[in-house]
Symmetry: D2
Subunit: 361 residues, 4 copies
């Protein structure tokens, strides 16, 4: 144990916080050293503060940890994962980074800040190169901020990456069918979701239309030039627990066949795959040949919830091609993405041992 | 009672057949005189043959009617509604029409036949003018065939009608979130739909891409010239009972604002509204101003399930405008549409008293 | 209109409040004259204050009514229905009664008060005779309090009434499968109810074990002697929208066959049926002969949601008989029960014209 | 690999068959050597014959195995698991046993045969002692039949075992809330289960009322004397995917407190725990102290789906005690139980290496 990184989880009691703990329970590199949450939870034992919602048991090792205030002086760790509510995450994350503690965040507060990488480690790993400029601009010493995208962006942009690389993406029309867990807990009332679809999620379409352009943007002189494509997003909440399904159409700059797309998607690998990072799926994208896949319940746990499953690739009579994709919104779309980001930050040496807590062996 | 039309319901035991009976129970013009179904049901009482699935009770007056074979010689009626399974509907419907009995059908078998109106009475009422040519070509005396569109087409094409009339529709991209009842009973297994979305329904995308062009086509010399727009459809089955929600983008030929679209949609009326037909909704389209409507459970019964509810009209960065629409798949999308068609056929004098059974008073 | 009773609805914005408005929209005797709710809603228009959750539209006539504070001086009415949250209902209802305004309440606050009728008008109509004593004890002039039972009690006690009358009930074991709407809105989170059952509802078992004994108790000298039977209740929340299903076993004092029970249940009628009150179902209990009924979705709207549906009556190897019953929790179990109570209070002359507002014609 | 037992899975394509394959994929003792199914599947590859319904992927090693006819001469194995449909399982299982192949079956066909153990290895492990008599009576050489109980019995009888041992069970009243997967695939139609509860499952109450008495019966002279208690069962199907929740009341012969019951349940272990069999849960019963547990979604995978979770132990005013229990219907209630049975048959030396196929190393 002594050689592991000590990590804090901020916002540990919420649904994404719980996913972090589930995924970190047996992580080979990271060991949870502190749990922090909002004022109302701080001071309790985790088992009392959290309403555990996952279908695997609350790991015993976390049950009796005290929940701390989300303040840098109360948390001992080498770096922090943030699952804080976006409404309060902004200043808290900055406080941690200023205090010298790197923050690998799932919150939206700083995603679109020009100097903050909006990172999916197997999509745009090179964007970590923003960090020296971020430190310079913000006067951070050992701290920094890295974010991962919104849960519905994560699946989409993963599929767009190899298509953009191979054929050039010009326009993307996406309609989402999103799970209840995307709203956290309590989130959507059961009276509002049983036998119902809600064609609206506040702020979601804006994120889907802006985040992919930053993620697939080009890194130029320590700044990101947004990718030159247009996204049109229409979002829906459907009565499923986990897994965001998306019906996508794309217009490409180059010529391609449906088979070309399938090949580009299924063969795609990136740095985390090449480095065999612990949380990296063998392939970021699984292409299913069946006419009725991906399905939310059957495919959301592909590669432990870290793979995006694509199916039904076929021509589109208006844009060029259409397909369906599915990704797990709290794994690839949240906690899993952040953990993979942290692994990549270790591998790319932006996370350095001993920077702060000195506790690593 | 003596003045009412006697109507047969073919395929009366299925889910759409049940909707026909529910909607016809107190109809002011039509009286159910015969129920017919497949071989395995024929000979039983309706209460024993049908597994009643609606949340209003099986009307007592139908419970003890015998179920007849779906053959013209066994059915006494002025005309017939058909809710037959599309796999067997084709020849049976023809047999009834040849025997002199008009058939107002929900089945897909003859929808795309060039001489058969694909009719939504408050969308393309003028297409009934195909009928004289149909009779001439097929040698029908008093019989004829009229069909209504597929359940997912019905909502879409209703919203497209006033947009096409006012601004010219050039392209339509639609993603559907369709209800379980669209597959009939038993249809989709609960193991396949609980906590799941299935991104495929056999044949559905093809119907959505072809039927609207016929319905909004121009009647020229007793033939329909398909409307010159393109439809791209992606369909999904979601775990709701009734109501098809659709996320739509449209490209228009003319200039318009979102307010122009809202006005064109909400002010639209057609012949059935002007004639105050019994099943006609006051307005075919209800436009909701809220950001989170239409919702499947809350809006599917608007105007008794005969109105299409539209919301979230807003610009689209790829095509011109986007909106969500909802329609009840077994009312406006099936039995209700057929009944309204029959009312319009009466009003437009294609259904004439005494043509066959002589039973009208 | 002038001849109708003017009624206020307290707690009008909640789920039960909405049911009151839905059921009162076209009521032949009662006209909603005022809507009142909590501080946060008061002062708004109803359409803005209420998040309308029913699948019939918000009645236009209520949409633009102002929501008033739930204080007697702000409400003009002949009497009031209360759908107030039980946590705050107690003192507010007393204030109205003291101000001379009869309160017909669905809240639990005063249900078990010795001088307050716990009334289902077609189960224990004679309990209205408590009211003179209540007025004497509490010093009410024209005001009074009448309550209806908890949603899960309502169905159970209706079925117990004819069994107790005919055979004597000695013990009742009941396990409930209750709908989401029983918790109001927002109530249970969708993350907690999709693909889940929760075997607990706070306070519910206590109500089920005590309320039936008061309702079926004997009225003696202006007090209720609780019925001498024992109830054991185990409650569960299941992922359905409306309708509480209950698996019941009963031990009887007298001899009977399953057919005797079916007859006693299906033939049962009470004062509201004899008086043909507007909201009274033709029969309080519908007995279904099929082996697989009642079913929640198919039977909850029997007789407009005012009938209790019973099925599967059969011997029990431990107690005497077992059956399943279903009742609509927000109609028979809440707003509908209160409205029927009010109708009975009119019929039995406890509600008298002109008592307060003088507005009745 | 060479040292593992070769096992055939009969009925491999169905839902329980799939669970067998999921649980056997990495089994330390057993290796799947043959898949067999009905006529319509035989001859295909497994990936084409099975409609894989689990949310973990179809194991690659099984995908390309051929599906064989369920006939002993076509299957090479040391013994067979049977997930055959009960309607056809009887003679097929006998044929395998007569051919010398032990059958460890989940089917109901032979469960109540007097000479066939109805076995849950951690409930009544001593019942394997019926097997010599079974072989004598039926003339089996190396073959035999062992069955496990019905899915709803499995959870109940596990909880009854330590209560019966410690206090003596006299009567049991149980109401079930059963999952869709209990009906297999396609099983219950989604139109019948969305927003619905069905208070009936054919044959289920009979099994619940008879099987526990055999399982907890006493082994006397190579026969089972049924346990002297009475079970009353009422069953319901609820819209959840997996996990049967049961509301139970028990009457005991001896005195006890709720704490005594909790202790007896939570401390219970049996032969499989003592022998640390690979599929044995650490404790057959997990007692949860929270007021709102067990919950179907949260607890069904306790100890990999092999533990029964009990909660809400409290006195009953009619019988003696009440509690809720949950068990996974296709793991502890089907495939997992059978695999544990086979492990116990190995451990207790009823399964002997080399008996038939000679293939074990």
């Amino acid at each position: 144990m002594s050689g592991k990184w000590k990590v804090a989880v901020l916002g540990a009691t919420g649904l994404v916080g719980q996913r972090f703990l589930q995924l970190l329970e047996n992580h080979p590199w990271f060991e949870v050293s502190a749990l922090a949450a909002s004022e109302q939870s701080a001071g309790k034992l985790y088992r009392d503060a959290a309403n555990w919602l996952l279908d695997t048991p609350l790991p015993e090792r976390f049950a009796d940890l005290p929940v701390r205030h989300a303040r840098p002086e109360e948390v001992e760790a080498d770096f922090a994962f943030s699952a804080l509510d976006s409404a309060i995450a902004g200043p808290i994350e900055l406080a941690f980074a200023r205090a010298g503690l790197p923050v690998v965040s799932n919150a939206s507060a700083h995603r679109m800040d020009a100097d903050v990488p909006l990172l999916l480690a197997d999509v745009n790993p090179e964007h970590v190169a923003l960090l020296p400029e971020q430190r310079r601009l913000r006067g951070f010493s050992s701290g920094f901020l890295v974010t991962n995208p919104n849960c519905s962006t994560a699946g989409l942009v993963t599929a767009l990456k190899p298509l953009d690389a191979a054929f050039g993406v010009e326009a993307v029309s996406v309609v989402t069918l999103q799970a209840a867990s995307g709203a956290g807990h309590p989130g959507v009332a059961s009276m509002d979701l049983l036998d119902n679809v809600i064609p609206f999620i506040s702020g979601e379409e804006e994120k889907l239309e802006s985040e992919p352009r930053k993620i697939l943007g080009q890194l130029l002189d320590a700044a990101i030039e947004p990718a030159p494509f247009t996204v049109s997003a229409q979002v829906n909440r459907v009565p499923v627990l986990d897994g965001h399904l998306e019906s996508v159409s794309v217009k490409l700059r180059g010529k391609a066949t449906a088979a070309d797309l399938a090949q580009a998607l299924s063969e795609y690998v990136s740095e985390p795959q090449r480095a065999a990072l612990p949380t990296a799926p063998p392939r970021p994208i699984v292409v299913r040949p069946e006419s009725n896949r991906p399905q939310t319940r059957l495919d959301r746990l592909a590669s432990g919830g870290m793979a995006v499953v694509v199916g039904r690739i076929r021509p589109c009579p208006i844009l060029d091609f259409r397909f369906s994709l599915l990704s797990h919104n709290t794994i690839r779309g949240a906690a899993g993405a952040a953990i993979l980001n942290a692994e990549w930050l270790v591998k790319s040496k932006f996370l350095l041992p001993g920077a702060r807590s000195g506790a690593k062996g």
